[in-house]
Assembly symmetry: C2
Homo-oligomer: 239 residues x 2
C-alpha cells in the first residue's frame, strides 16, 4: 500500500513512521526547489548543490557558473543569485551550475534513507504527482521550512501534492500532517497569491521577491520537469 | 508587544524565536492536559506529574493515589488510568494525585525557559486566553504531539487559543505555525466532533476513547480552571 507522510520541518524527518521503500520529495518553495525546477525547465543541464560558500568559491575557480546569495542578495563572487528568474539567460543553457544552498544540501543528505530524492514546487506539482504515481513506493514530503520552523508555503505545497496523490492516485495516509496540510491547501488554493502574503518568509524576502515572482512561484504546472538527485547532481527527469 | 508563537511538536520548541519574557502553554489534548484540567476542576487538590513508572510505583508505596496507563490501559499497580473521567470520584477531592505522563514531564522540563507554564485544553480554552491576557508577556504554545509527530488535536487547540489571543486580546504574530493552526481551526471549529475522527491518535486510542469522551474533550469552556506548574505540582489558578 502506497502511503504519504508529511514532515513539516527538517527537525521532524527523523521521526517519520514510513517504512519500506519510499521516495522523498523535498520542497523549499522560497526558493531552492522553485529555482532548480525553473532552471532545468529553461535548459540548464544540471544543478550541483553545494553546502557552503567555500565550496561555491572553489567551484567558481574551477570554471563553474555559480549561483549564490545570502538574505536574498547575490554574493560578490557569484555569477547569479538564487532566484528562479536569474537562470533565464541563454548562455546558461546546457551548463552545470553550482548552486549554494545550505538547507538544500542538508535536506538531500538527510534523505539518504530514501530510494529516490526528487524536488517539488508548484511549477511542477502535477508532474511530481504523476512521476510518484508510476513508482510502487510510499512518499515522504520533506518541507525545508525556515531555520527549522514550519512555514506556510512549503506546508501548502505539501497539501497540494498530498491532495493529488490521495485524490487521483490512490495513496493513503495515517499522518495528521497530511490532513493538516491538505486542509490548509483547501483554505488557500483559490486565493493563493493573496494568502501567501501572510507568510513570514515572504516578508523576510520582500526586498527581493516582487509580485511577479510570487505569481510565477505559486502558479501550478508550468512544467513537466521533475528534478531527481543522481550522483551528486540534480537533473531533469521528464515525464 | 505581546506576540504568539506555536511549536507544533516538542522537537520544534528549541527553535522558537520568541524573546524576552514569555508564558508557555502546554497542550496534550489526548490526554494529559484535558485530564489535569478536568481533575482540578472536579476538586483534586494538585497533580504531581511523574516521568516514569518506577517513580509512580514509589509514590504509590508512599501512599499517593496514582494515575498511570500505557496505550490507554490502566496499569496494575495504579489506582486509576489517565482519562479525564477517571478523576470523577468523590474520594479524590482534595487529594494530590501522582500522574504518570512521560510526555507531560518532558514538556514541562523543556519549558524551564518560560516565566510560567500553564496547561491548556478545550475545557479551559477561554480561561487560559483571559489568564494570558492579564500578563504582560508573550505566549508560546507547546503542542505535545505524539512521538514528536504533529497531531491534529493539539494543532487545533493552538489555533483556537491563538484566534482568541489575536482576535480579542491584541496579541500579534510573525509565526507561520500560528496562521496555519488558526486556519485549521476555522476549517474544523463548527464541525469539531466529526473533524477529529480524522486524527491518527483518535484511532490509536479508539479502544478507550468513546464518543462521549470525545465530546467532553472537544467542548470548549466547561471550566475556568487554569493549571499552573509551581514547585513541582500542577495546581488550579482560577481566574
Amino acid at each position: 500500500m502506497k502511503t504519504i507522510e508529511v514532515c513539516l520541518s527538517p527537525k521532524l524527518y527523523s521521526d517519520k513512521l514510513t517504512g519500506g521503500k519510499f521516495v522523498t520529495v523535498i520542497t523549499d518553495i522560497f526558493r531552492a526547489t522553485t529555482s532548480v525546477v525553473a532552471a532545468l525547465d529553461y535548459g540548464v543541464k544540471a544543478i550541483l548543490p553545494v553546502a557552503d560558500l567555500d565550496d561555491a568559491r572553489a567551484l567558481k575557480q574551477k570554471g563553474y557558473v555559480v549561483a549564490a546569495e545570502r538574505e536574498g542578495i547575490k554574493l560578490d563572487f557569484a555569477d547569479i543569485g538564487n532566484s528562479a528568474t536569474e537562470f533565464f539567460h541563454p548562455e546558461l543553457k546546457g551548463k552545470t551550475i553550482a548552486y549554494s544552498t545550505t538547507n538544500g544540501v542538508k535536506a538531500i543528505n538527510m534523505s539518504s534513507d530514501a530510494s529516490a530524492v526528487v524536488l517539488g514546487a508548484f511549477l511542477n506539482l502535477s508532474a511530481v504527482a504523476e512521476w510518484l504515481s508510476t513508482k510502487n513506493e510510499s512518499v515522504v514530503i520533506f518541507c525545508a521550512g525556515w531555520k527549522n520552523k514550519v512555514n506556510l508555503e512549503d506546508s501548502l505545497f505539501a497539501g497540494a501534492l498530498a491532495s493529488l496523490l490521495t485524490g487521483k492516485f490512490g495513496f493513503t495516509t495515517n499522518c495528521d500532517s497530511v490532513h493538516l496540510s491538505m486542509d490548509l491547501w483547501q483554505v488557500a488554493r483559490y486565493n493563493l497569491f493573496d494568502y501567501i502574503e501572510k507568510s513570514s518568509h515572504r516578508h523576510r524576502l520582500a526586498h527581493v521577491i516582487n509580485k511577479e515572482l510570487v505569481e510565477y512561484t505559486f502558479t501550478p504546472d508550468s512544467t513537466n520537469v521533475v528534478p531527481v538527485f543522481r550522483n551528486g547532481l540534480l537533473v531533469a527527469d521528464d515525464l
